[in-house]
Amino acid sequence: MTKKESLDARAWVDQYADYLYNYAMKRVRDEDLAKDLVQETFLAGLEKLDSFEGRSNVLTWLTAILRNKIVDQFRKRSSLTHYIEDGAGGGNEAIDFFEDNGFWKKQHQPQPFGMETDEQLNNKEFDNIFKRCLKKLPALWMSVFTMKHLDEEKTEVICQALKVTTSNYWVIIHRAKLNLRECLQKHWLSL
């Protein structure tokens, strides 16, 4: 390790820690986990310092390391929850919203929220309900949503990273949206 590189590494915390922490928090939504991930990223960075050779910007490089660690984390969650195969997710994802012929069960039929417009995007109360409903979703579903909506990853990339098949992927999205919509309807309309 050259002297210059090791000197630079001493400045990492001041230069990049907040950015990396913020990046991790947005994706894993857990303070302790985000801190661990930042720490691991720095350690992995130190180990690979020799091979880095300044080919890219240090921040880009560290972010890529962090990103891989986050995906590993997502994958770990998905191997913990084999909810589709055995239906034992334990949460409300087991709800069946439909009758045998496929028609909406009466109690689950969509009702107007009175908020399908953009102005409601700024409604604080709705925002709170939305966040509470998201917390109820299984971790794997959140991982899919995060990769999809935050990083706008392609379906194949998500399936590969989380080791789910394409058809399971659509089932996950479908179930997640049905549950999220139902939760919003239940809490928003009962206000």
Binding site: M25, G102, L150, T155, I173, H174
Partner: protein, 89 residues
């Protein structure tokens, strides 16, 4: 049940197709089933509207600029760890 009745009542499959269509392409038969169903089913029409709204809400929420800062003591710990590694401890 004939094909039309099957399509007419199949909200489960229609909502699935609605989700799939948001992120991918549907085949011609899938598209036809979805639109035929939507003509007759107000619940699924509403679902379609709401699920798009939810997707845009999700996107907005994820992109919202909340600046999370690391606390000073943890930063100090990190500095120490890096220092230890660099000095070969």
């Amino acid at each position: 049940m004939n094909t039309y009745t099957k399509i007419k009542y199949n909200c489960r499959h229609t909502t699935y197709l609605i989700e799939k269509k948001q992120y991918s392409h549907l085949g011609p038969w899938e598209l036809a089933q979805m639109y035929i169903h939507l003509i007759t089913c107000p619940f699924c029409r509403l679902y379609k509207k709401q699920t798009r709204f939810i997707a845009s809400f999700l996107r907005r929420m994820f992109k919202a600029n909340v600046a999370e800062k690391l606390d000073t003591s943890f930063k100090q710990t990190l500095r120490q760890i890096i220092e230890d590694r660099l000095s070969g401890k």
